[in-house]
């Protein structure tokens, strides 16, 4: 047991994933009911996740304030997106250092980005988060070479970091639930970018507690006012080396996306005449451990297969109108556009005030590292 993690099952799991790929897949889900037009917050619930061949119940509520300047004490979806990246990076680092036999003293990851603002002070439509980056402060005795190596590998294998680097499209649908069955309507969307010179700073701080448990705080500064939220807890399910103390970083990402889209959707003009009472937005996404552990090179290491489904109980005749409304909301949203874009992310590792590793990460660069890891693994197996 090191750093609160018991990793003895890792090697066995690698073999199990090879024998039965289904065991490697974890499907996360979050549901966010459509908030009423006057409500300041969106409230998401985590749903049971499928982890390989069994289910894991998840019982967490995540709240988001939908306007940057509202007085709610909850983080905004854009802050939570940074939490999702920072927490995922931090968890991957804890796993990486633990597998190298490094005992950690302290670990903290801060993610930062610029959020473009429209003339009304709200996030600019369809604009990606700018200047995304994270920095990790570490206290441990490992040599600098290990720190550089782990930092490089985390950029390759942290699923949410990879989702930011790579093109991660959200497939969207509307499901109309009628008395005699359900009908699914596909949603077409593309970011409708609103150019804007204004922006604000968004930050998330994730501080490692023990094992896979961390606490996070967030900050956003608009109009000279700095709003801070937290601390809140992020953790893994106990079946995933955690203690079930909070939602994990993938669930936080899904709740951020569904909260932002639900917040925009409720104001869509097309919804004015639609019966949306009880409507809920389901967000889902997948981790495949074969990619995260590089068991199969072709499998992505990123959080992928992102899906959004708006479920509404109404007459199927409303389906196309609802699909158009969801498409319009998605097109105006920041987070789906951010995930869709191929970003460059600045990363660094700092120890004792000194930068041990750093630079810009791109998809091409991390893919090259993964190729090299694959080559070394194959050589080790043949040798």
């Amino acid at each position: 047991m090191r750093n609160g993690l018991n990793i003895t099952g890792v090697s066995e799991s690698v073999h199990e994933y090879r024998d039965n790929p289904e065991e490697a897949v974890a499907d996360f889900r979050v549901v966010t009911p459509l908030p009423a037009p006057g409500e300041e917050t969106a409230v998401s619930r985590t749903l049971a996740l499928r982890d390989g061949t069994y289910r894991i119940a998840r019982d967490f509520t995540l709240r988001h304030r939908l306007a940057l300047d509202s007085r709610s004490g909850d983080p905004t979806p854009w802050e939570s997106m940074l939490v999702a990246v920072a927490a995922c990076v931090l968890t991957t680092k804890v796993n990486g250092f633990t597998s190298r036999g490094v005992t950690l003293g302290a670990l903290r990851t801060t993610a930062r980005a610029r959020l473009r603002l429209g003339p009304d002070g709200a996030p600019a439509a369809g604009a990606v988060l700018d200047d995304l980056g994270w920095s990790t402060e570490i206290d441990c005795d490992a040599p600098s070479e290990t720190l550089r190596s782990i930092n490089e590998l985390v950029a390759v294998f942290s699923p949410n970091h990879q989702a930011a680097l790579d093109t991660t499209s959200a497939e969207a649908t509307v499901t109309v639930l009628g008395p005699t069955g359900s009908e699914v309507f596909p949603v077409v969307w593309a970011p409708a970018v609103q150019e804007s010179p204004d922006d604000c700073a968004v930050e998330a701080d994730v501080v490692w507690e023990y094992g896979s448990e961390s606490a996070y705080t967030t900050r956003v500064t608009t109009g000279g006012i700095r709003r801070v939220t937290g601390p809140l807890v992020v953790d893994q399910a106990k079946q995933m080396l955690g203690i079930d103390k909070g939602p994990n970083s993938q669930e936080i990402l899904l709740s951020a996306v569904t909260a932002e889209v639900a917040g925009l959707l409720r104001h869509e003009p097309a919804l004015r005449d639609a019966p949306v009472e009880g409507a809920r937005l389901l967000g889902s996404g997948r981790l495949d451990t074969r990619g995260m552990l590089n068991v199969v090179r072709e499998v992505p290491s990123r959080f992928h297969d992102l899906r959004l489904d708006l479920a509404v109980e109404c007459d199927p005749g409303h389906g196309h109108k609802l699909a158009a409304a969801l498409g319009a909301a998605l097109s105006r949203a920041v987070l789906p556009a951010t995930l869709l874009a191929q970003l460059t992310v600045a990363v660094e590792m700092v120890r004792g005030g000194r930068q041990e590793a750093g630079g810009l990460t791109t998809l091409a660069q991390t893919e090259a590292v993964r190729d090299e890891v694959t080559r070394r693994q194959q050589a080790a197996q043949q040798g």
């Binding site: 047991m1 090191r2 993690l5 018991n6 990793i7 003895t8 099952g9 890792v10 090697s11 066995e12 690698v14 073999h15 199990e16 749903l47 049971a48 499928r50 061949t53 069994y54 289910r55 894991i56 119940a57 998840r58 019982d59 990486g96 633990t98 597998s99 190298r100 036999g101 490094v102 290990t146 590998l153 294998f157 399910a237 106990k238 079946q239 079930d244 552990l293 590089n294 068991v295 890891v373 070394r376 693994q377 080790a380 197996q381």
Partner: protein, 427 residues
Amino acid sequence: MARSQGNAPEPGSGKEWTDSLSRGRVPGPRLDQQRVVDGRGLGTRSVHAGTYEDPGTGAVGTPVFQTTTFRFTEDTYAAFDQGHIRDVPIYGRYGSPNQWTVQEKLASLENTESAMVFSSGMAAITTTLLALTNHGGHIVSSRDVYGGTYNLLREDMHQLGRTVTFTDPTDIDAVRAAVRDETQVLFFESLTNPLLKAVPLVELGKLARERHLLLVIDNTFLTPIHLRPLEHGAHLVIHSATKYLNGHSDVTAGAAAGPRKYVDRIWAQMLKLGGSLDAGMCFLLERGLKTLALRMRQHHTNATAVAAMLAEHPVVHRVHHPSRPDYPWTWLHEVCPGGWGGMVSFELKGGDEAALKLLDRLRLPVVATSLGGVESLVSLPFNTSHSFLTERQRVEVGIAPGLVRFSAGIEDTEDLLEDLDQALAGL
């Protein structure tokens, strides 16, 4: 003391990102000194599997390691460092050679990787269900389960953040309908108490796989001699080892068996809940298990003979036993061709009053709770195991007035029949 067998992964500074790729999970925990007789007959495995062969004395039986703690070695420190503390003798609650001996015997009998013993059957059930579910999770079970289990599921699980739905355990459609999005575990007894209802094991296994659920089967009544649920789709098997496994009414213990990927989790939960079994009880349980196959044959012979005799008796209204032609759950015969243990239930025409009189008149069977011992035991569900149910609830699960639960021991069959006959004659 040597460490247990196996090649646990060993992370370290020279390792690659994905850790050592050699297989880490091994059967056990198992020491090099333990006998492995996998693939032999169940009688042979009952006798020999897991026995610790003491290299110093050549003792035929496993010595009692009456110690709570073990001297640290390099392996101990490595186990702490790397997390495989289940496989190294460290501390009594974590595991001991006596636990590993009896666990290996159980794992071998169940044809699986690993087993655990607990301080009671309820400790096994509580620990297993908490280990396999999460806050917000849901369990599908049945009101037909043992009273202690029912009380745990009804009174405590919701306080621990788990909800439970009780269904008819013999109706696969009812079980399927009870499954929710957050359902994690199906928990049933292979043969229920006291009516010997058989759950549709194969179909439950299919449902569990189809819906990504874990099927946990309490197999106390049948034991691995008659049924190995893991071979029919269950993920884990539970026992009250107090009953047939030990078989001498002198040990309170429980057990769980299955693949290490699940049993390791149960072990980690046990460390916190604390229901481990001490060395002395492990020794007795191991000794009892050595005769399991032999005993189960006689339990089955006696129960079947008792059921046949009761079915012909004029004061008996109905007999609940898999050997009877009116037994409704015939799928049991397909998965258990070799026998059904020692339990028989029957209803007397004179109701509970006649049942109480019968208990007064019996000379050989002891009127007592529990079951599965070498001595025959008899009790009435209405004032013992199912007294927690209202009369309406008892009727709902089929506990009719005058129901008697008979646990056939291993006495001579003729003696049991004669005693029952004289007792029934006076009613």
